[in-house]
C-alpha cells in the first residue's frame, strides 16, 4: 500500500494586491508537489522568490489565491473554525524573524509553555517541566528563562522559538531560516535535535534555507524556487551533485566556501541582469533574462516542469542535454571529482 502524501500541493498560486490597481505580486505562481511523511524537504532559492509565502501556505496561514494545499487528503480551509484551530496544532511554522514571532510581554518560559497552556491538557507543573526540558535541549540556560525577548541575543531568541514550536510536537514543521542566526556549533546541536525528534516521533520537516550545506546535510529532497515557481526538485545528493537547471547551477556555484583563499575554486557563475520583479515576471522561461544558457526559444515557450528520472523534476528546455553532459563528465573523471570533494573536507 502506498501511503497518501502528508501534504499535497496542487497548482498553488498566491498573489498579493499592489497599490496600483490590476497589478499583483505573484509570490507563488503555480507550484505542484507532494511531501511524504517523516521526510525532510528543503526549499532553497532566490530571495523574494516566494519561499516564505509558500511555507505559510503549507501550514494554512495564507489562503491560496488559486489551487489547493491538502493535508492528509483534506482541505483544511473547509474545516470549521474550531476544527481548523485544532488542526493547526499539527502544522506549525517557525518564522524567519524570531523577534517578530515572540510576544514581548511574555517571559521566555511563558512563551515556550504557551502552546501547552492553550491546549490545557496537562497540569501546570508538567507543562513547566516540559518547557524547561526543551529549553535545556536548545541550550538556553535556566538563568534566562525569566527574561523577556528583548533581553536575549538574536540566536537565543531563535532557539526559544524552536523550543516553542516543538512543545506540541506537530506532524509537519516548516522551519523558515531557523538556523541562519546561530553559530555553527549551536547550529550543529539544533540540527541534531531536529534529526533526533524526527527519528523518535516521525515529524515531517520543510526547511527553508539559504545555506546549501545545511540543506544538503539534513534533507531527503531539495526543491529550488525562482520567481514563484519550482525550477528543480529531486533527491538532495542528486540536486547537489548534478544540478540540471542553470539557476540551480548558479546558486550552487555562489556558495561561499570556508576555505583558505588559495584553495577556493573561483568558478562562480555570476548572473547578469536585474532580478525581475514578481509583479511582472518575464514571459516564457522566467529565468531567460539572466540565464547563461538561454537560446531564442527560451523567451518564446515556457519549459514544462517535468520528471526526467523518478523523483527528478526540472523546468528547463535543456535539462535532458545537461543530464547527458553530466553523465559524460561523471564517466570522464570520477577521480577528479572525488579530488575536488576531498579538498573541502
Amino acid at each position: 500500500m502506498i501511503a497518501a502524501p502528508l501534504v499535497s500541493v496542487d497548482k498553488l498560486k498566491i498573489h498579493f494586491p499592489t497599490k496600483r490597481r490590476g497589478r499583483t505580486v505573484k509570490a507563488v505562481d503555480g507550484v505542484t508537489f507532494d511531501i511524504e511523511p517523516s521526510t525532510t524537504l528543503s526549499i532553497i532559492g532566490e530571495s523574494g522568490s516566494g519561499k516564505s509565502t509558500l511555507g505559510r501556505a503549507l501550514v494554512c496561514l495564507t489562503r491560496p489565491t488559486e489551487g489547493t494545499v491538502l493535508h492528509d487528503g483534506t482541505d483544511p480551509f473547509r474545516l470549521g473554525r474550531s476544527a481548523l484551530r485544532r488542526h493547526r496544532r499539527d502544522y506549525q511554522l517557525i518564522f524567519q524573524d524570531p523577534h517578530a514571532a515572540l510576544d514581548p510581554r511574555m517571559t521566555i518560559l511563558e512563551s515556550v509553555r504557551e502552546p501547552l497552556d492553550i491546549v490545557g491538557e496537562i497540569p501546570k507543573a508538567d507543562r513547566n517541566a516540559q518547557a524547561h526540558g526543551l529549553l535545556e535541549r536548545v541550550g538556553i540556560a535556566p538563568a534566562l528563562h525569566e527574561r523577556y525577548p528583548h533581553q536575549l541575543s538574536g540566536g537565543q531568541k531563535q532557539r526559544v522559538n524552536i523550543a516553542r514550536a516543538l512543545t506540541t510536537r506537530p506532524k509537519v514543521l516548516v522551519c523558515d531560516e531557523v538556523v541562519a542566526a546561530l553559530d555553527v556549533s549551536v547550529q550543529a546541536g539544533i540540527l541534531n535535535l531536529f534529526a533526533d525528534i524526527q527519528r523518535d516521533f516521525g515529524l515531517t520537516y520543510v526547511f527553508i534555507t539559504h545555506d546549501l550545506a545545511v540543506a544538503a546535510h539534513i534533507s531527503d529532497e531539495i526543491a529550488v524556487m525562482y520567481l514563484g515557481q519550482f525550477v528543480e526538485k529531486g533527491l538532495a545528493e542528486a540536486v547537489q551533485e548534478t544540478p540540471l537547471h542553470p539557476y540551480t547551477r548558479a546558486l550552487l556555484s555562489a556558495e561561499p566556501e570556508p576555505l583558505p583563499s588559495a584553495m577556493r575554486e573561483n568558478n562562480r557563475i555570476v548572473l547578469k541582469g536585474e532580478v525581475p520583479s514578481p509583479i511582472t515576471p518575464p514571459a516564457a522561461c522566467r529565468f531567460h533574462t539572466r540565464c547563461p544558457r538561454a537560446q531564442a526559444r527560451c523567451s518564446k515557450d515556457a519549459p514544462d516542469f517535468r520528471q526526467l528520472r523518478p523523483g527528478r523534476w526540472v523546468a528547463c528546455h535543456f535539462a535532458e542535454e545537461m543530464l547527458e553532459e553530466a553523465g559524460e563528465k561523471a564517466q570522464a573523471g570520477p577521480a577528479e571529482r572525488a579530488g575536488q570533494r576531498q579538498a573541502c573536507e
Binding site: 532553497i44 532557539r159 541562519a180 555553527v184 550543529a188 539559504h210 583563499s261
Partner: protein
C-alpha cells in the same frame, strides 16, 4: 614562524600594515550588567580599508560590542574602557556629537531588520530621513538618491518598491533596504551585524562584493559580524573569535581556517556541515556557554574544553602567538588543532 607545513599551499595573507594608523581602536572594553561582565577586556582594532570579521557563540556579546561602538547598547549595560575612533573616545562623546558620528561616519546594519525599520513609514521615507539628517538635500533629490541606493543593493523595480512599507517586502529585501540606508551616507566604518543572514547566496555574493568594493575604492572599514565562515573567508582579511564576552583569537583569515589556535575556534570549524557526512550527527561542542553567574574564573571555555589541564584554571588573556596573531589559550603551542583541511 611556520607551525604548519601544509600551509605552504596557501598564499600569504596581506597583514595589516602596522604603520597604518587604526581607524577604530577598541581598548579593554568591558560591559557589565548587574556587576557581571558580558564583555570582558575586549581589544581589537580596524584600519581604514580593512575588513575584520567577528564570529563566536550565539550570545557571546558580538551585537552588544557593535552597538557599544555607536553608543546604542541598552542602558542596562555599564561600559568601561575606550573606543577610539579617529582620535576621539566614543565612550566620552556627548550625545549630540555622537549623533553626528552615527549614520554619517559609522553606520550599522542591524541583525533584525523588522526591529530597525519603522513599520509606519515607507522604505523610501526612511532612507530620505537618514540622508536629510546629515546632508542638505531637497526632497526630490533625496528621493532620487534613495531609489539609487535601492538599485545598488539589487532591489528589482526600485522606483516602485521605494513606496513599499517594510511588511510588503520579503525578508531578504528588507535586509537589503537596511543596507541601502546604511550605505546612503558613505560612512568611514560600517558595522554589519549578520547582514546577509536572510539572503540567498547569489544576492549575498552581490552584497558582500558591494561591501568589498566600497572598502577597496573608498577605504571604508568593515566590521563584519557573522556566523557564516564561508562569507568571512570570502569577505574579510582578518577575523576575531569571541567566546563568552572575550576575544579568544585574532588571526589572518587563511591562517585561522587552516590552523586555528584556540580549541573553541577549532570546534567551530569542525561543526560545519559537510557533504560527505550527510544525515549523520554533526559534531557540536558539548555543553553551553556559561551564564554570568556560572562564569569560571579561569579560561572561560575550560568547562567545555576537552583539552583543558590544570593551568587552564588561571585567567587567560589574549597574547601574541607568532606574527600578527593572538590567542587566549595557554596550551596553544603544544596543540595541533584541526582546521578545515583536516
Amino acid at each position: 614562524m611556520r607551525l604548519y607545513p601544509h600551509l605552504a599551499l596557501v598564499k600569504d595573507v596581506p597583514m595589516t600594515n602596522p604603520a597604518r594608523p587604526p581607524l577604530l581602536e577598541v581598548k579593554n572594553v568591558c560591559a557589565s550588567l548587574g556587576g557581571a561582565d558580558v564583555l570582558r577586556n575586549v581589544n581589537f582594532s580596524v584600519a581604514a580599508g580593512e575588513r575584520l570579521g567577528i564570529v563566536g557563540e550565539s550570545g557571546c556579546g558580538k551585537t552588544v560590542m557593535g552597538l557599544s561602538i555607536l553608543g546604542l547598547a541598552s542602558s542596562a549595560f555599564h561600559l568601561r574602557g575606550e573606543i577610539v575612533f579617529e582620535g576621539r573616545n566614543l565612550l566620552d562623546l556627548p550625545a549630540k556629537a555622537m549623533r553626528h558620528v552615527r549614520g554619517r561616519e559609522i553606520s550599522m546594519i542591524f541583525q533584525e531588520p523588522m526591529v530597525t525599520l519603522d513599520p509606519v513609514f515607507t522604505i523610501g521615507e526612511q532612507i530620505c530621513e537618514t540622508l536629510r539628517t546629515h546632508f542638505k538635500l531637497a526632497r526630490k533629490e533625496a528621493r532620487e538618491q534613495a531609489i539609487d541606493a535601492l538599485a545598488q543593493v539589487g532591489i528589482p523595480a526600485p522606483a516602485e518598491r521605494v513606496d513599499d512599507y517594510p511588511h510588503q517586502l520579503s525578508g531578504g529585501m528588507r535586509q537589503r533596504a537596511m543596507i541601502a540606508i546604511a550605505l546612503a551616507c558613505k560612512p568611514k566604518l560600517i558595522i554589519a551585524d549578520e547582514p546577509t543572514t536572510a539572503l540567498d547566496v547569489t544576492v549575498q555574493a552581490q552584497i558582500t562584493n558591494l561591501l568589498v568594493e566600497l572598502s577597496e575604492k573608498h577605504g571604508t572599514a568593515l566590521l563584519f559580524i557573522t556566523h557564516d565562515l564561508g562569507v568571512v573567508a570570502e569577505t574579510c582579511d582578518r577575523l576575531i573569535t569571541m567566546y563568552a564576552g572575550q576575544v579568544v583569537e585574532n588571526a589572518g583569515i587563511d591562517d585561522f581556517l587552516a590552523r586555528p589556535l584556540h580549541p573553541y575556534s577549532s570546534g567551530l570549524l569542525r561543526s560545519l556541515p559537510r557533504m560527505s557526512k550527510r544525515k549523520t550527527a554533526l559534531p557540536s561542542i558539548p555543553g553551553r556557554v556559561p551564564t554570568v553567574a556560572e562564569m569560571p574564573a579561569g579560561c572561560r571555555f575550560e568547562p567545555r574544553c576537552s583539552l583543558a589541564q590544570a593551568p587552564c584554571k588561571a585567567e587567560q588573556s589574549l597574547l601574541p602567538a607568532g606574527e600578527a596573531r593572538k590567542v587566549a589559550c595557554c596550551r596553544y603551542d603544544e596543540l595541533m588543532l584541526p582546521g578545515v583541511l583536516n
